[in-house]
Symmetry: C2
Subunit: 379 residues, 2 copies
Amino acid sequence: MKITDVTVQTFRYTSSEGRDAEGHGHPADPHDATQTIMTVTADNGAQGHVFGANPQHVAALVKPHLVGEDPFYREKIWHQLYTYQRGNTGVLTDHLLGLVDMALWDLAGQHFKTPIHKLLGATRDKVPAYGSTMCGDELPNGLSTPEEYGRFAEWLVKRGYKAIKLHTWMPPIKWAPDARMDVRACAAVREAVGPDIELMIDCYHHYSRSEAYYIGKELEKLDYKWIEEPMDEYSVSSYVWLAEQLEIPVIGPEYHAGKMQSRAEWIVRGACDITRGGVTDNGGISPLMKIVHLAEAFNMAMEVHGGGPGNLHVLCAMSIPGQYYERGLLHPFIDWEKPKPWLKTIDDPMDEDGFVHISQKPGLGQDIDFDYIKANLVK
Amino acid sequence: MKITDVTVQTFRYTSSEGRDAEGHGHPADPHDATQTIMTVTADNGAQGHVFGANPQHVAALVKPHLVGEDPFYREKIWHQLYTYQRGNTGVLTDHLLGLVDMALWDLAGQHFKTPIHKLLGATRDKVPAYGSTMCGDELPNGLSTPEEYGRFAEWLVKRGYKAIKLHTWMPPIKWAPDARMDVRACAAVREAVGPDIELMIDCYHHYSRSEAYYIGKELEKLDYKWIEEPMDEYSVSSYVWLAEQLEIPVIGPEYHAGKMQSRAEWIVRGACDITRGGVTDNGGISPLMKIVHLAEAFNMAMEVHGGGPGNLHVLCAMSIPGQYYERGLLHPFIDWEKPKPWLKTIDDPMDEDGFVHISQKPGLGQDIDFDYIKANLVK
């Protein structure tokens, strides 16, 4: 079996989300946008699909490495791309490696008519979710005050969530970051949801040691479950220091480059209480499973960063069960239950008890609307 | 899909190998022996097979955990057995866990009509082998003198091996262990094969620090590739000390309990230069891949211990390529190219250049002679 083609098609849709100057997503007025679908095709007709790859980067650096290879030689292909990364860091990112790896896993699952978590060796079919908010904003009735976070949290609990994570205010909001405002939002949410909901914070990522310490100590009083990357992740010594100072678990790293290698260093340094990785942070399902296995070898908790089907399949194949699926990012103005225009159904349906159920469809299990994509192709 | 039955059948064959009082294999006069085949069957008829499980132990502890489970939930099943191990260490060994895990992988491969290394995400289809000798003996023209090791090594090189590992003399041979004799055998082999063949030693496992140091220093002069577990593996501090003292790489652990967890501790302690694991030492293909991933995260070489199809599939799915497949144990009196009576062909065919080729048959890829087994069943 050989890969015969790797294509990326671009299609139009109407988006209701925008990005601020620092790259954080927020609700936005409906506007034209584009999305891409990458398709890896094998000589027997089997295909794998994944969304979000850059067409030029795939054509320049991915396709030449894939065509002619057996699609089941994922480790061989991944390792080839990995060694080519060094000279092509701006293009052949871990994000793109992750998309390629997921497309190959999807192809295998489509070929075998089996969802990926069962190919990996499954552990479960549903995972508790935490509602993960968008970053704070300045939209009235959005997430612009501690009280609005509290009201939204109340709604999330009614929807079924048993855990909530706040992303608080960050630049380019002029007055952000503000550690005291972060704590006020956390307090408002704790007051709104009561003692039985698990709460976490993912705040500004460039606080000083003393600011991070202040937030951590306050969140201990509010019985928060974890504090996530409040400082520059490359200052590993800062994390060693913070993890020693705080009772509340420190979780990370997330965007620190270096895949499983950097996670190994965080673990041996004692820089975190819970380690972390995600399919698009670390180069795909294959390396994320390596991080899971690394964490298991050190009996260290590991929580998966970000949502989407790739992360969900990993969560359903972990022997050391990641406690939560990250659902969102959520906002009062956004209907998360509504599928993206290119999907017929959402990737992460959640029941009333707060469990996200994995798709039993083959591969990544996405319910792709190929007719929509075809009708909206950019020529 | 559900597991409906787990059976172990015992059958007779004629063996030409025996075990000494310490459990080491040696050539023996043909004699009656028994072997077992474990079969895991799913409700759709898919089956996985593996040889060597104890019928009573499977009936008592394995079958009750497997029947009713989905055979693709390997991680769930493995984790259940793992937690039950603590109270059942004498029965639910890592060896038995390994056989169960391999049977489940075989079942998956049979179901998908695909060899396991491709389900794992393959890297290659052939692996260089080292010829791994039996332990020394007192059989004339066998492995009873350094000169006989030298002659056998010459023959192995003619057969195609590019690397050879000596297992030297161990108790119950009365005069063993003897560090000087080990070095003499190693010298005789180096002299017989010349400078271009890679050589390793796996000697007595309870030498003192000074004996291990002596052997290591002598093997540095003989340009040996590694020294394998020359001391009690639970004295991790001894290995930290030895790895610091010697230039020649120290490889281990092998039989140290604790699966990927103990390998993690060896790595962070600096107790080895090359880490090690095998499917029946560590509880199967699944945990062995975790050790591979752990080693990869620390950029540490990892060599697979022992032969057989499970280890070969792991070797063909490693991104950090284990350098060698361990072929044997070999002896001048034993024809390794002849299949076991219950196999139609051998598991590890080797070409003239010393490469073992993996089977492209489904699952473990073994060429089982079911007619032979049926005809020789023990009622």
